[in-house]
């Protein structure tokens, strides 16, 4: 029996010894190969942990930005730690009171992080450093704001436009002209987009698509923003109420539904299942299965990476007739300083440098437009995105929009995705469809939209109720939290 006791006790001691002796890697560990250039100043520098996303060439761009900062001075060394699901990991780190010094998030994370007190407000530091609002394009700065404070600053921006395959346009030039359309330019209204798409479509003998002129399901990342191109909005700026089912939004989603019904929901489903992932040569647009697609400023870099010879054009995504444009949804990646980080002063020095110099390096190497008003002259020289001018124009366009930061940003997005899926998938009864027999073109489209309008309106109304209920609940809980804290 004594042997058993000795064995158990020995096991416990061994476990604790191993845990104690384990050498945890530290930021300050010097790597003689990677850090050779910094050998002399290594021990004198403050080492900052910078958690940030990105992969492939976009990660290289971020690394280049950080390397430039590290080489530019001898006081701070920033370690760029590539982190997947950076928002969730940063949240857990903040809960555990062991956050990184600098964190790269998405603008959708600003509200939950700011509301939970996980970020430092930056407006005071900005004022001290002479960084003013007019340094930025206003909408991009707004994306880092919540309740009167600036919590995050821009790094990498997102502006959306219509990409069109020039080869497809050229192949169908005669048909486009016959339909009264110009094959040398992109559509300028939603109605024109439909007409272009109609001519560009190609089908197999059994009616299944071979090439679709336009598909509103691709890439499917911004299903909540379609209403804006029809003059709609998601939140009433006056009352703060959810406006998912206002008439312009109903019109937008009815327009989307007509694509599913006109070309066959099931046929499109099979067609889409043959699409590859975004960053691959089998991307629907890159492979040539979809002739026009709404995509972001980053897309030209990916097209040239997978199909360098592809001929494509970029234009503002069209708005419905009568709706002023051009316009684009604006979102972005942001950078912030977590509360309770180890080196807040040094972290601000890095963030400030990123805003003044680093952001230009990052945006240029990632092939994107930039969030600041007056980038350095070299930013445009040899910029890899040849379509940059369109995105810069869109970023400054007065009609371009941001989805306002609210307490239910993520919930809103998810609920609108669900509504979009329901609207797209919901089958119109066969009896109703018989009313379409004999109709073609605009008359058929109008009839389809009339058949679907009620279901679309009901779906959006349900979405509004659910999102509003969530928002009301969050507001009430904040009140309770505040009372509890008092």
């Amino acid at each position: 029996m004594r042997g058993v006791h000795v064995g158990l006790a020995g096991l416990i001691i061994a476990v604790f010894l191993i845990a104690w002796l384990e050498m945890k890697p530290a930021l300050e560990d010097f790597d003689p190969v990677r850090h050779a250039a910094f050998k002399d100043t290594w021990n004198k520098r403050v080492h900052l942990a910078y958690w940030e996303k990105w992969g492939s060439f976009e990660a290289d761009a971020c690394q280049k930005m950080v390397d430039t900062f590290n080489e530019s001075q001898g006081e701070i060394f920033v370690h760029y730690l590539r982190t997947s699901q950076v928002d969730r990991k940063a949240m857990l780190a903040a809960v555990g009171r062991d956050p990184p010094d600098v964190v790269g998030l998405w603008n959708a994370n600003v509200v939950p992080f700011a509301e939970g007190g996980a970020l430092m407000p930056l407006e005071g530091l900005m004022k001290q450093s002479g960084l003013t609002r007019d340094f930025y394009i206003e909408n991009y700065l707004k994306l880092g704001e919540f309740e009167g404070h600036i919590w995050c600053l821009p790094t990498s921006v997102m502006t959306m436009a219509l990409f069109y395959n020039k080869e497809h346009f050229r192949n169908k030039a005669a048909e486009l002209r016959a339909a009264g359309l110009d094959p040398d330019r992109a559509p300028e209204t939603i109605e024109e987009l439909d007409r272009y798409a109609d001519v560009l479509n190609e089908f197999e003998p059994d009616g299944s698509p071979r090439l679709m002129g336009f598909l509103p399901t691709e890439p499917g990342w911004f299903n909540h923003t379609w209403g804006y191109y029809f003059g709609g909005k998601l939140i009433d700026p006056e009352t703060g109420k959810i406006t998912t089912d206002e008439p312009a939004n109903i019109r937008a989603y009815t327009w989307i539904k007509h694509y599913a019904e006109t070309y066959g929901r099931e046929k499109l489903l099979r067609f889409r299942s043959g699409f590859g992932t975004f960053d691959s040569p089998y991307n629907a647009f890159i492979e040539g299965k979809v002739a026009m697609e709404v995509q972001g400023v980053w897309f030209p870099m990916f097209i040239r990476r997978h199909k360098p010879q592809m001929e494509f054009g970029v234009a503002p995504f069209p708005c419905a007739a009568g709706v002023p444009g051009p316009r684009s949804v604006m979102e972005q990646d942001v950078i912030g300083i977590p509360r309770h980080c180890k080196h807040p002063a040094e972290a601000w020095k890095f963030v400030l440098w990123v805003q003044r110099e680093g952001i230009a390096i990052l945006s240029r190497l990632q092939g994107k437009n930039i969030a600041i008003r007056n980038p350095p002259a070299w930013f445009h020289q040899g910029h890899p995105n040849l379509e940059l001018e369109v995105f810069e124009r869109l970023a400054l366009a007065p009609q371009s929009f941001i989805v306002p930061n609210t307490l239910v940003g993520q919930e809103y997005r998810d609920e609108m995705n669900r509504a979009f899926e329901h609207i797209w998938n919901w089958p119109v009864e066969l009896e109703k469809k018989s009313a379409l027999e004999g109709l073609t073109g605009a008359a058929r489209q109008a009839k389809i939209q009339a058949l679907c309008r009620e279901e679309v309106a009901t779906t959006l109304a349900q979405a509004r109720q659910e999102i509003q209920a969530r928002l009301d609940s969050k507001i009430e809980r904040r009140r309770l939290q505040k009372r509890s804290a008092d």
Binding site: H5, R270, R477
Partner: protein, 391 residues
């Protein structure tokens, strides 16, 4: 003193497990109960709000949808899994050559990591290139042949288009049938056992296929929408119910996950198999003497004797079903239209997407109580049905 020492030694052996249980299960369990009465964004301290989370649950449409999906999945997948595993175990219990090989083969899928299985089934369910739809397309073509036959017969009654499109296939099958009949009437069929067996096997197989295809053809006539979909279903991307006339029925996407859940049925079958081999042979011998047939022996002897294991498997399946997460998270992300958003995914989203730890804790506790209730129900129902030989 010796007894005390013996007890102390026993407790010392289980101490590491007890400590881990208390720290990693007991503490979160109790903390979760407290948090369920709090508003708790992870970045703030929990604030007590009484029953507000539970009150909100009652009116939360998204929660109700998730609960509905989970219950629907449980209602279909558990009975199906139990029946399939039991059938498989009975086959594996048969005294045939290569029995250990078959047992290993049917158990192996259970060893494959869940993520790998999910990715594999993503490809199987691909509407365009998926293996399942390729097979279904073949079956659908065969069924279309029967449907065409049906419609042509109907047309023939009205004097139109008599069997013309199906005449070639009908002639071939007629010729084969006649040949089989001739052979069955011949000397070789009567005198040679191998030939008899072979022809009988072909006849049974043909009957089964014909019955299945016939049923399909009738369904094709009854449910044209669903049958057309069956030619090439959208599976994971299709949120519409199957059958289409029942709005409460599982969606195509949920059916896909139900079919996929049968992948791991081999593990359940192995447990049944262990118990099946424990059934005393003399019971079957006595039944043989009494002239019982296979069905009677199965119903009167096998099922009662293995009933404790059936109960065990059902309870484990109930618990497992309410914890389904990885497969839908990877394969559908809860879509389309939340039709595969299981309750475990709902809890995850509330915690990590919407930062509502208190609300998620309330859902987790409702889920816990539901599992306990269903387990008690299973035990209650089984009290008169489960036979314990030891009692």
């Amino acid at each position: 003193m010796a007894g005390l020492r013996r007890d102390a030694t026993g407790y010392a052996f289980i101490l590491p497990w007890l400590v881990a249980l208390a720290l990693f299960i007991g503490w979160p369990f109790l903390a979760g109960f407290y948090f369920s009465f709090c508003d708790y964004p992870p970045l703030k301290s929990p604030a007590f709000i009484g029953l507000a989370n539970y009150a909100e649950l009652a009116g939360d449409a998204k929660f109700q949808r998730s609960l509905g999906v989970t219950l629907l999945f449980a209602a279909v997948a558990i009975p199906l899994g139990v029946v399939l595993a039991l059938t498989l175990a009975m086959f594996l219990n048969a005294r045939i050559r290569g029995q250990p090989f078959y047992r290993v083969i049917y158990y192996i899928p259970h060893l494959v990591p869940t993520v790998a299985v999910a990715i594999l089934w993503l490809w199987i369910f691909n509407p365009k290139f998926g293996l399942l739809n390729i097979v279904l397309a073949g079956l659908a073509s065969a069924a279309d042949w029967f449907t065409a036959l049906y419609f042509n017969l109907m047309a023939a009654v009205h004097g139109h288009n008599f069997l013309r499109p199906a005449s070639g296939a009908l002639a071939v099958s007629g010729a084969l049938g006649a040949m089989a009949l001739t052979l069955m009437a011949g000397k070789a069929f009567r005198e040679r056992r191998a030939v008899r067996r072979c022809l009988m096997s072909i006849a049974v197989a043909t009957l089964v296929v014909a019955a299945a295809a016939g049923l399909y053809a009738v369904l094709h006539w009854l449910l044209p929408v669903d049958m057309r979909s069956l030619h090439s279903p959208g599976w994971l991307a299709d949120g519409n119910p199957l059958p289409s006339f029942a709005s409460f029925a599982p969606s195509w996407a949920l059916w896909a996950l139900i079919v996929m859940s049968m992948w791991g049925v081999g593990q359940m079958a192995v447990i049944y198999l262990a118990k099946l081999q424990d059934v005393p042979a003399e019971l079957y011998e006595a039944a043989d003497i009494d002239g019982a047939n296979w069905l009677q022996k199965t119903w009167q002897i096998t099922i009662p004797m293995i009933s404790p294991v059936i109960l065990f498997n059902v309870v484990m399946a109930i618990i497992g079903t309410f914890q389904v997460f990885t497969e839908p998270y990877i394969m559908t992300g809860g879509g389309p239209e939340d039709k595969t958003r299981f309750i475990a995914m709902f809890i995850y989203d509330e915690t990590f997407q919407y930062h509502r730890v208190g609300y998620a804790s309330a859902v987790a506790w409702v889920l816990f109580l539901l599992i306990v209730a269903l387990t008690i129900l299973a035990f209650k129902i089984s009290q008169k049905r489960v036979y314990y030989a030891g009692r």
